[in-house]
Amino acid sequence: MLTLIIGILEEGLAYGVLALGVYITYKILDFPDLSVDGTFPLGGAVTVALISMGLNPLIALLASFLIGAFAGMITGIIHVRFRVRDMLSGIIMMTGLYSVNLRIAGSANVAIFTKDSIFDNSFIDRVVPEGFRPYLVVTLLFVIVLIMKILLDVYLKTKSGYLLRAVGDNETVVTSLAKDKGTIKIIGLSIANGFVAMSGGIFVQRNGFFEISIGTGALVAGVASVIIGINLLGKVSFLKATTTVILGSILYKTCVQIAISFGLVSQDRKLITAILFLIILITSNGRKRRVKAHA
């Protein structure tokens, strides 16, 4: 049971950084960014490639953030400068990235069990006592997610962050501030996909292998986490939206795990995910309507 809970926590936290990224696009920018399904494995591919080359796993994470941010920037440029619809820009990016990811990783499956990762390296071998090992991954993940959350919180309090929130809230205001709303969107997509790709990198380091299909459903997982977090925990006033989103990710993974424990095999995983997502969407719509009816 404990291992199961820790497993869920690990998974939820690994996807927590993804959820933060999706929070930026889906909630702040109001942009359905499908490139996420490509940038999540992109981060994974970059990470396995660099780690296989013997690079420091932390630097690999940083690199996946940067390359993800670059990919997000391209999605933004396709949408803003070439006026392609938001959904389609993401689809173009996601489709193209599939090949790019294969190129970077070298093949559809790459194992890095034997290599150092942020969770398993000589430093940890020396410092961490044996008894703590089962909790090591979850603790490290917690720290990473916390750092990313705080970074995002701080950014959203800067002038640039204000502008990002404003562009999702009311574009007209951004224009009246004599700022190009397109540029702000590109910056937002860039940061968001940096988070997402980094999440992919973390995921791959935790699992010890890369698989080309890890991106399928990444956006769904992210949006589900955001909706669960904001709708369920948004009322709790002392929780920041970014915190609720991470908790949402853990709750979402719990739901998936519960569904699987009802005897469904892992082949059914995506179907479960889809149905679960549908339920979340429908119930959150219902809530919104009820609130409106009361108002």
Binding site: Y155, K157, T158, K159, S160, G161, Y162, L163, R165, A166, D169, N170, T172, V173, V174, T175, S176, L177, A178, K179, D180, K181
Partner: protein
Amino acid sequence: MLRLIDINKYYNPGTVNEMCLFDGFNLDIREEEFVSVVGSNGSGKTSMLNIICGSIPVDNGKIEINGTDITNMPEYKRQMRIGRVYQNPALGTCPNMTILENMSLADNKGKSFNLQLGTNKKRINGYRETLSRLGLGLEEKMDVTVGTLSGGQRQALAMIMATMTPIEFLILDEHTAALDPKTAELIMELTRDIVKEKKLTTIMVTHNLRYAVEYGNRLLMMHQGELVLDKCGEEKHALEVDDILDKFNKISIECGN
């Protein structure tokens, strides 16, 4: 000096719905002029403001500010010298951000939006003072999200935000239309004070003929994309609501309000 020179504007060109709104439209607005604009629905008032602000492109003609051609300048760049308040109170503010955050955004117009703290703590008292002038109690609600304010409160805030930093032009499009008479009066007084204090060149579209007569030193009436009345100075001061109504009736169209 703001000039619209020989403006041509077609809507839906090349389709069955093609419509020529402006055909050789000309307008000169001098510095520090306060122009009230009236005209029936669909006469092209909003379109004219959109053309000035760069929200819509023109098919022909030139837009100049102080002799510089700005016809191809993107909308957001033009806003550097323009403050704009819309008919819809929701358009001028960010509903999910607090009053303080909205004020901070507006205060930073023209400066770089970098990684410094979004709200400058030292400025908060100044914001409070500005807001308290409105007498709406907004200064007590700095941490309230703007979406929860009433239309009038939002519009007042939008007005303050639009004129917070140094600008030359103030563009108002029926900015009191969504407000109750008392709040409308308040916003109009605020408008007058700000325009006077900051010496702004102002274009105010309104359906309220009394406002059009009482405020400003020039009055334009538009009809089907043309100026049918243009009075300034003494002539403008001599105008009364009935004169404008007569003119309205002459072009035999019902007026909006």
